[in-house]
């Protein structure tokens, strides 16, 4: 609660500095990037990175300084928990580092402050990255920063139970998924066929993929469009799992994995990090991952993190060179081997370290078409509204179309922020 207030205060401060015009150029689109000088990187590069990335990047960057002996990379680890507050306060006070890791969903808000440097086109090729990941860096048609690593969502399921249920290869379509969850309960003895997130924080990451798979888009011509028949159909479908008692609506935090290991929950929707958690909990070899079920398409959510350079960077050119190094395919593979972050650069996936793993293959294929919400500055604010409405739909059985109308009217009053 406290932190949410602070985030609001910090964003408000940013908004004020933007609207007051002291937030540098706020021209609204079409900013052009300066070129980066040729040659090796020199000088000190300060980098903020969150979590494991912050812990391991300093050591990893030694290979970069070996190639660029006159450069030095100083990494400061930042807790994920409050990275948003830290970065927005730093922007407000002009205390930014050269480079920072930025969660994909925060990108719009930060780019809009005018504090991020546009990506120099001579150094990075858009096509090298997964398209959904690249799109998260683009605000008002200008890319600010580059995708660093990605993640996406699929359907985790117990292979033994799936065999008993008559779906040895998992579900492939929407009809399948419902039948699959039913059969897991009726034939394979699971208490719950599948566990889907019943609204609450971050549930949009589970729900929007169903909308996208049904041809919905929450943005058209620079406007929010939550209130479409396609999205309503997707949300109704999502709700059916709770109505038909196929998914629990009140699973306590941390209860999912043990229940999955015991076979009480037959399947759930999540991202690559769950492979590690399940292996730790003793489910190794007992589960597999299926891509998002198809309606019109099989479209998942793409998340992960970007890297951005600040306009106030003391060592801008070296910073961009460091980012160029981090997005080389072979470096991306090595980074995956160091911290298990999935490469944002597509060609890195041809390396046997990734292509030989069947579960990664599913995520890899899914990433090619995976989408992210538009990087409008107001997205994080709207996501919270969406999650609240989604909870009403999943837990209290509210009408999906009415919930989407509520999100849409909120979206229209908040606007896109661009």
């Amino acid at each position: 609660m406290r932190q949410r207030w602070l985030a609001v205060a910090a964003s408000a401060a940013l908004m004020v500095s933007v609207t007051a015009g002291c937030g540098r150029d706020d021209s609204g689109g079409g900013e052009t990037a300066k070129a980066v000088e040729e040659g090796k990187a020199t000088g000190e590069i300060t980098v903020w990175a969150m979590g494991t990335e912050g812990e391991k990047l300093g050591e990893f960057a030694k290979a970069f300084t070996a190639e660029n002996p006159e450069a030095k990379v100083n990494v400061t680890a930042v807790p994920w928990d409050s990275a948003q507050q830290k970065i927005s306060s730093a922007i407000a006070a002009g205390q930014t580092p050269d480079v920072s890791m930025i969660g994909t969903t925060m990108q719009g808000e930060f780019a809009k402050t005018g504090a991020l440097d546009p990506t120099p086109a001579d150094l990075f090729q858009k096509d090298a990255f997964f398209p959904g990941a690249w799109d998260t860096t683009v605000v008002d048609d200008t890319p600010y920063g580059i995708p660093w690593y990605v993640e996406t969502r699929g359907i985790f399921y117990r292979t033994d139970l799936a065999r008993k249920a008559g779906f040895p290869d998992g579900p492939t379509t929407w009809e399948d998924l419902t039948a699959f969850a039913k059969a897991l309960q009726d034939k394979a003895g699971a208490k719950w066929g599948i566990s889907l997130q019943p609204g609450k924080t971050g549930s949009w990451q589970s729900i929007l993929p169903f909308g996208w798979s049904n041809g919905a888009s929450i943005e058209a011509d620079g406007k929010w469009t939550f209130d479409t028949p396609q999205m309503a159909e997707a949300l109704t479908y999502y709700q059916s799992f709770f109505k038909d008692k196929l998914s629990p609506a009140d699973l306590p935090q941390g209860a999912l994995e043990p229940a999955f290991v015991k076979g009480e929950i037959g399947a759930f929707m999540s991202g690559p990090w769950h492979v590690g958690i399940l292996n730790e909990q003793g489910a190794k070899g007992k589960f597999a991952v299926a891509p998002m079920p198809t309606k019109q398409s099989s479209t998942s959510f793409i998340g992960g993190s970007n890297l951005a350079v600040f306009k106030d960077a003391k060592n801008r050119d070296a910073a961009w060179k460091f980012l160029a190094w981090l997005s080389k395919p072979d470096v991306q593979v090595k980074w995956y081997q160091a911290v298990s972050d999935l490469p944002a650069v597509q060609s890195a996936w041809d390396d046997p370290a990734l292509s030989a793993d069947p579960m990664l293959k599913v995520f890899g294929t899914q990433l090619e078409s995976a989408k992210a919400p538009p990087s409008f500055p107001t997205w994080t604010q709207l996501a919270a509204t969406f999650d609240v409405e989604a909870e009403k739909v999943c837990v209290a059985g509210a009408d999906p179309a009415a919930a989407l109308k509520a999100v849409q009217s909120q979206a229209e009053s908040i606007g896109t922020g661009s």
């Binding site: 979590g51 507050q85 006070a93 991202g271």
Partner: protein, 274 residues
Amino acid sequence: MTRDRVAKLSLYAILVAGLLVVVGPFLWMLLSSFKTEAEIRSVPPTWWPSTWSLGNYRDLFDRLDFPQYFANSAIVAVLVTLGNLLFCSLLGYALAKLDFPGRKALFLVVLGMLMVPGMVTFVPQFVLVSNMGLANSYAGLVLPFLAGPFGVFLMRQFLLAVPDDLIEAARVDGAGEWRIFWRVVLPLCKPALATLGILTFLSSWNNFLWPLVVATTDDKYTLPVALALYAIGQNRIYYGLLLAGAVVVVLPVLIVFLALQRHFMRGIATTGLK
């Protein structure tokens, strides 16, 4: 006789139940910090670790530069506490016992500051501190917290109860204002000072957002910030690491509290504040 016993027994039953509610989570934190990650997450949860493991602590001390963060936390908390004890008692004394023009207005300002939530001033305060060139320094971590309206208010309320005659007597004996404050007033304030000290120490020790934002390199992080670094990931929480960290952070506070407990209780009883 038996009625007394029943009353006593039921009183104890209520007290024990209350104690369990209060101590239970701490006990679980302590015991679980010795469990493996899988056991912490197991449903139904266990009380006693099935196998005792120091893995979480080893992980914590291996991955974090503990002495550095601990020293940062201690330096900041001690300086902030000393500052509050000195400045708040000085101002509290002036507001309670000295007669000067604008005293009422000054007191109203202090009260007004009590009503302003910290979140409102957070960003401006950070901008101010960094404009002064104090970002990423101990001064930046300590200065904004050296005195606070709450402490001033607490000291003033306590000092109001000190009889004027005592101060008058000292004045008649020829003591200067400074000497009166130092030799007569402060020794009387021990319970209030202990209360203020422990509350300030606690809030400084637990302060998370300010050090997180002010420290731009991790060698200036304090313990709570450092613990959040690796225990909370983008998509998952490492409960073992978090619990072991919580135990380590709580211990010093517990020691300070036990040392000052006697005064603390008296302070709360006499000022009616907490």
